[in-house]
Amino acid sequence: MTLLQWAFDGLLGITLIWLAWRTLASADLFKAIVLFIAFGLLMSLAWVRLNAPDIALAEAAIGAGLTGALLLVALARLNVVAAQTGDIESNTKQISAPEDSARTTAVVGQGVSNKHNLFQYFLVLMLSAVAAGLAYAVLSLPSEAPGLSRDVAENLNVSGVSNPVTAVLLNFRGYDTLLEMAVLLLALLGVWSLNRLPEQYESSPGLVLDMLSRLLVPLLLLVAGYLLWVGSRAPGGAFQAGSVLAAAGVLLLLAGWRPAARFLGWPLRFALIIGLAVFVSVALLMMLPGGQLLQLPPAFAGALILLIETAATLSIGVTLAALFYGSRPRSEQIPPHHTGSGGENE
């Protein structure tokens, strides 16, 4: 461990903390989100330094990228509601006056009044104590611990893949991942179950974005495919690939593209659940020859994992994009007023 590395790590740590603080404390919410995205990117760097390239990819794509996009679009909607109080769906209650809302977006963050000062100091004191205690607990851990690395290494050759992270995710602890897919689906169900949000404001995509999307989307699809394929050996895998796929979808949505109505019915639903469905089916099928739930026989493990991952990638991509879009498409009832003409599906 050279001094330079030390300095780099130290600097990275301090920058992370500083960025986090600025994110949380900045008066402007837009600025806060941008800072948060920057924070996410730096986190990826930290993951690389920690020898965790898989996480770095996931963090960059999901943590910084998609979360950032979600945050931005949410903020935009918050502002749309604020700005266009009058003309959006007059039947929904709009209590807030425009100037009130404007203030909300601008300076809300500073809304900690003085009378809370004492409480604030107390809180700082308490939390410092908590942090100190935690730090002490962490530092008291032995400086070397193999964790489960040996177990993973020993079983890697029968797992069907050579990337240990993928092995853990889809084989050793595949059950976690199964439930995790359910969480993702759940988030979408939850979002859809809320009543319709006000329509995202329609900015004309602009030439650059339009061009960019035409150029980038095929590229992103390619990257997603690559990540999926390579995941068995090198950093990559379903989640990373899925989020890249989602990025492509987000880009298309931003460019004003809307899928044709006929894809919004059960094809969309099917795409959303295919990952989980395949996962569950595989899990159950493995029980047929007398194995345990999710017991992948070493001979087919590689192929099965790839199958699961492919389906999962598609579902993750579509789910994340749908989360970005927000409300449930008016699928069965009314055809959406799609502006884009591109009816191609991914």
Binding site: M1, T67, L123, P146, D176
Partner: protein, 101 residues
């Protein structure tokens, strides 16, 4: 090797910072950001300490963190949608103290 502790401590600071912000700020978007930063802190700590297994790679925490990231983004998406709906219904993106009558 000792950068394990460095990053772990960073994680703890991030966690505490997020917790502070979660309690102190009232705007929901900020609270959501705070939760995300807390999550980052936890993940950082989880992975940083696993580097103590060097030269081997302990993949289990890595997988856990990837799971965690996906869970976090799901939760964030739900929280944001909820925030927008709340804003829609009550006109404010802050939590108003319930009067218990």
């Amino acid at each position: 090797m000792n950068n394990a502790y460095l990053y772990a401590l960073t994680g703890i600071v991030l966690f505490t910072l997020g917790l502070y912000a979660l309690i102190i700020y009232s705007h929901l978007l900020r609270k959501i950001l705070a939760i995300n930063i807390m999550a980052s802190g936890v993940f950082l700590q989880l992975v940083a300490l696993s580097t103590r297994a060097r030269p081997l790679l302990d993949a289990v925490p890595h997988a856990m963190v990837i799971t965690g990231i996906v869970v976090a983004v799901s939760a964030t998406a739900l929280a944001l949608a909820l925030m927008l709906r709340l804003r829609d219904a009550s006109g404010s993106a802050e939590l108003i103290e319930e009067s218990t009558e």
